[in-house]
Amino acid sequence: MTIDMNAYLGHWPFRRLRHNDAEGLLALMDRAGIDRACVSSASAIFYKNSQAGNEELAEQIAGHEERLIPFAVINPAYVDWEHDLGVCADEFGARGLRLYPNYHNYALGDACCRELIAAATERGMIVSIPIRQIDQRQRHRLLEIPDVALSDLEALVERHPEARFVFVNGAGFTGSRLGRADGGLPANYALGISRMRATIGDEVGTLVENLGADRVVLGTGMPFKYPEVALLKVEVLDAPEETKQAILGGNAEGLMGRLT
């Protein structure tokens, strides 16, 4: 079972995405050999009311629940998020959140965010945070959104030891406490590999070694990115087949299993 923990449907305002409806994404998954994907709305990142994006996502996923696992984009600084969280979890079947603190103008330590994470954790949902959505160098001239700081994530996982986090579209973890099992942080997070280096400067292999094979998950970033790139990183990983299978899907199944 190959599970992508970093996938999207919907639109991005600054570049036309392809394969960004359910049929298109499923075809892309078939092409790449990906069985299931944790999917959130790309449109919701820019909608003021991100719940509208979650509604679009639910419409797209309907009938494809076996392969597309909804994650909800919730902005805790926006009015009525508590209601939206309930709808996403209870009606749309969302298994996790995607949070965008720098797009939605709040800090991970703000009271509203703490409340959201606590509420989602109470519901057994995973909290996924993309460190970035696009490469900074290609940003639109009107928009400069900084990456989520790894130091903020260190504080986050310490603040919520009971939560389960998945950080995607990140790199440079090997230089932080997040990249080491002996970093003094709770083992309540996993790291997606879409931006990590393999072979030269092998961050994927280093994390398997230093953090643990059970803490690294496949996350391609499709359809923003070619899914084949993340899969190739696992293919060339200098590790036993058992480790590769864990990264490709076993670890994600473990995270999802905790939800059921």
Binding site: H19, I200, P223, E228
Partner: protein, 260 residues
């Protein structure tokens, strides 16, 4: 034959692990099925001075001789040193270097670059030019060439072989591709860490597969994965992966009367 058209060897700073880093490049090529790597060695102090770019090329030549079946060498110079750069290029091409690498010392459309381009035409070798286009001021690279400057140079010298560096090296790759549409003799390499889905397909559609060169620029799985994932014909993929670069290398051989 798979040829990486844009790679780098390590600057051999005293006490550095340059041998290990160069070996890691070869190892990565082995694991990813890359037969040959077209490499330059860039000096860290830039704008570079003759003493430094001569040293960089001396080391690139040593690497080429150490790995004769794997490493092809570009001669790196700062075109502002008009006489010294020309002497260095002529010397190194005579030693078997396959082309010239220019970085960001000058926008490539400035007249100071022209004598070097004319020399490369005379010698029958390509120029790989660092390039990028962002929609904000890139303070670290005020003289970086964009696709428009590359196209301007290529159209000024249609008999030259100009390669626009790293479509995926950050910045607006759609801009780069569209800018190069009007320069039918210019090539682009596909390297860089950006693996946006659809990039290769657009480049093939707008520029033509015959003008694209597979490359990694040290982002090895990104370089291979995006070409692997692109929805193009196998004939187009083979052209991009090595066929086109073999054609460029043949220009030099033809100019030398078939001997090499």
């Amino acid at each position: 034959m798979v040829i990486d058209a844009h790679a780098h060897l390590a600057w051999r700073a005293p006490g550095s692990n340059w041998e290990e880093r160069d070996r890691a490049l070869i190892d990565a090529a082995d694991r990813l099925g890359i037969d040959r790597l077209a490499c330059s060695n860039l000096c860290p102090r830039r704008p570079s001075v003759p003493e430094d770019f001569r040293q960089a090329n001396e080391w690139a030549g040593e690497s080429m001789r150490e790995y004769p079946d794997r490493i092809l060498a570009y001669c790196y110079v700062n075109p502002g040193w008009i006489r010294e750069a020309a002497e260095e290029v002529r010397r190194r091409i005579g030693e078997g270097f396959i082309g010239v690498k220019l970085y960001n010392e000058y926008p490539c459309s400035e007249p100071v670059v022209f004598p070097l381009v004319e020399l490369c035409i005379e010698l029958g070798v390509p120029i790989l030019h660092h390039a990028g286009h962002s929609h904000y001021y890139v303070a670290a690279q005020p003289r970086m060439s964009g696709g428009t400057q590359i196209a301007e140079l290529a159209n000024r010298y249609p008999e030259a072989t100009i390669i626009c560096g790293h479509l995926g090296g950050g910045g607006d790759w759609e801009w780069q591709i569209k800018a190069l549409r009007s320069a039918p003799t210019a090539y682009a390499d596909t390297s860089g860490s950006v693996v946006d889905e659809g990039m290769i397909e657009m480049a093939v559609r707008v520029m033509g597969a015959e003008r694209l060169l597979f490359a990694c620029d040290m982002s090895m799985t990104a370089g291979v994965g995006k070409v692997r994932g692109a929805q193009i014909t196998e004939e187009q993929r083979a052209m991009i992966l090595g066929g086109n670069f073999e054609g460029i290398l043949a220009q030099r051989r033809a100019q030398r009367g078939g001997s090499r």
